[in-house]
Amino acid sequence: MEALSTFGQLLVAGLLTGLVFALVAVGLTLVYGVMDVVNFAHGEFVMLAMYAGFGLALLGIGPLVGLPLVSIALFLFGIVVYRLFVRRLLAGPPEASVFGTFGLLVLMQGLAQALFTSDYRSVPNPPFQGTVQLGVFALPQAALVEGLGAIVLTAALFAFIEYSPVGRAMRAVSEDRTAATLMGIDVQRINLLAFGLGAACAGAAGALLLLSNPAFPDVGASFALTAFVVVALGGFGSIAGALLGALIVGVMEVLGGYYLSPELKLVPVYLAYLIVVLARPQGLLGRR
């Protein structure tokens, strides 16, 4: 009985952890799906959002009120980065976007270090501390809020892509760039929008992650690494896949950490990733 309730607690914790991973992964997969670009600096966008959220918190603006502000700010930031930088990368060979966005990662981390120093910035007395008791399970409120945010964000993005005219245009660009152009879709504009939306997702993720994590220059890297695995596992470009991949990774990490050893908790995750990449390179829900 004891063992069973521990398992249940771990499973729930794993699912919540997975939702947090999904939060970071959806923006990444959206940009890839539409533009065929893996934005290596996605984690740094999250980092920037966390600093923005921290700044708002200092002004007395809580994370939930701050969330839309941070998302909008990151959307605009994404647009600027696209116009000045990513647009040019798209004109080059495929490697250009790999090295270009990786360079952006290094630049943003370096700038954050120079401007904000490498000190940890944690929000004083953040809201949503404590737990919600669900039967025998204690669910941390911060993780619940983050998880809920992930579900809402994923659902909204999914609905937007599936049902809105712009979303349809995005899918068209993603399926066949040339054909989409011939159909009169402004590919540049769709790319711009997708990159901005991806950055806005990073903004929402950063604002929520601030509930349980301090902001520091390298913070994005730890989340982004998992996000890359999640996206590859779920299928590059698939939003539902990102959610599924994230839940799998979250549950495997937590169960692996308990039943194997905390040192080895990432082993089953990467093993599953390797198997999927070998047996089904497009990922679980990926196309092609």
Partner: protein, 425 residues
């Protein structure tokens, strides 16, 4: 011919002869003695590196100055046994990287002709830089790296003033014994959980804690090493909960320290004490983020301004440090590095020579009483491996959001609150 040149010529013609009474001309001042310092001056640790640099520069000024404090080598206008030669530090950047630290050490020895090296903060950079000094036959004094393995490499030229994590682990057990003794119970704590990140810091601390715990008859209920960059610690917290320890010893950086503390609270993990290896637990963000939930946590520290009760130089040096480092107080890192330069200057002075072997012999003979340091140490004396045997840490407890020194009892400013208070919901 400009007026200035004319003045110089006139001075040469008449001025020199006008020197009073043909007194013997003072000999040229002896050349500066160069100490090479390897520090992380750029990169992620640049902030820390800047503080260490400021501390070492302050130490140089204290040695070269004439104001006396109860500290070694200070206030004699240079090194008296070397004709009051001044010391000078040349800094080289390690960028916090072991490879770069090696290059920096090589440059300091071959190009700057440093007579001794000091540095390099992180244990991995100290490891490579000190290998260079070993090959070159130059004394290397480390004042700020705590990996126990650094002094068990059998190096001839390596000395370390700071206690290692093994000492801090021993302090934890001494603390548990002392608290039990004060409360007149034979055993307060039986089962211990050891938790640490899986890098050099966490595993080094954990190894020492586990070995000493077993030796002292404690049960190590669980030992957990988790990936340092992890974003969640659910499994780790559940494992600790299942082990139901009386005390938790933990070595974490700030993000993971916060994850663990929130996890312990959320899952109702309630040991009698949580004993932390500073780092994340003494970061200003720790209390800020946790508020009252931080209360009751014990953390070891290497230094506290409370040491003023033993050496009145502490607040004075603290003031001088604040003046040159943007108002920031002297802390464990800066105090240790300042002390390191003084110990090295003291040895070079006693050697009366800049020959490496002479400096090494003087370092071996070092014997500085604890109240002539800025640290909570009993003395500075090196064993055969070059480790200072007088080193010790202090233990602080967070009480009402403030770090209060509670051990050793003779420098304590507040009594121990035991067991730690229950989590507030």
């Amino acid at each position: 011919m400009s007026a200035r040149v004319l003045a110089v010529v006139l001075a040469a013609a008449f001025g020199l002869t006008a020197l009073p009474g043909g007194a013997p001309r003072a000999a040229d001042p002896p050349p500066d003695i160069v100490i090479g310092s390897i520090l992380p001056l750029t990169g992620a640790l640049a902030q820390t590196g800047a503080g260490l640099r400021a501390a070492q520069e302050l130490a140089v000024d204290l040695v070269n100055g004439h104001v006396s404090y109860p500290l070694p080598a200070v206030g004699h206008s240079g090194l008296p046994h070397l004709g009051h030669a001044r010391i000078r530090i040349v800094f080289a950047d390690s960028q916090g990287k072991p490879d770069q630290a090696r290059v920096a050490a090589e440059e300091l020895i071959s190009q700057e002709h440093a007579v001794a090296l000091i540095g390099a903060y992180t244990s991995s950079t100290t490891a490579t830089a000190s290998q260079v000094a070993e090959r070159a036959g130059i004394p290397y004094l480390n004042s700020d790296s705590s990996a126990p393995g650094l002094t068990t490499r059998g190096l001839h030229w390596f000395f370390r003033t700071t206690p290692s994590d093994a000492t801090f682990a021993a302090n934890f057990y001494q603390f548990l014994t002392d608290v039990a003794h004060a409360r007149k119970t034979p055993t307060l704590v039986k089962k211990i959980a050891i938790v640490g990140e899986d890098g050099l810091f966490g595993t080094g601390a954990g190894d020492a804690e586990a070995a000493l715990g077993t030796q002292h008859g404690y049960t190590i209920a669980t030992r957990i090493a988790y990936p340092a960059t992890t974003t969640e610690v659910n499994a780790e917290v559940q494992r600790i909960k299942s082990a139901a320890p009386d005390a938790i010893m933990i070595a974490s950086y700030l993000p993971d320290a916060l994850l663990f503390m929130r996890g312990f609270k959320d899952q109702g993990v309630t040991p009698q004490a949580i004993l932390a290896q500073d780092s994340g637990f003494i970061d200003p963000g720790f209390v800020r983020a946790l508020g009252p939930d931080a209360d009751g946590i014990f953390t070891r520290d290497v230094f506290s301004l409370d040491i003023k009760h033993r050496n009145h130089a502490v607040p004075l040096i603290d003031q001088l440090f604040r003046q040159r480092f943007g108002g920031k107080p002297l802390d464990g890192n800066s105090a240790r590095d300042l002390m390191g330069v003084l110990v090295l200057a003291d040895a070079i002075d006693r050697a009366g020579s800049t020959a490496p072997e002479a400096i090494r012999t003087a370092l071996v003979a070092t014997n500085i009483p604890g109240d002539h340091t800025l640290m909570p140490w009993s003395s500075i004396k090196f064993d055969a491996q070059g480790q200072n045997i007088g080193g010790a840490g202090i233990i602080e407890q967070i009480q009402d959001g403030k770090y209060e020194t509670v051990w050793p009892f003779d420098v304590a400013v507040k009594p121990v609150i035991w067991p730690m208070p229950a989590w507030k919901h």
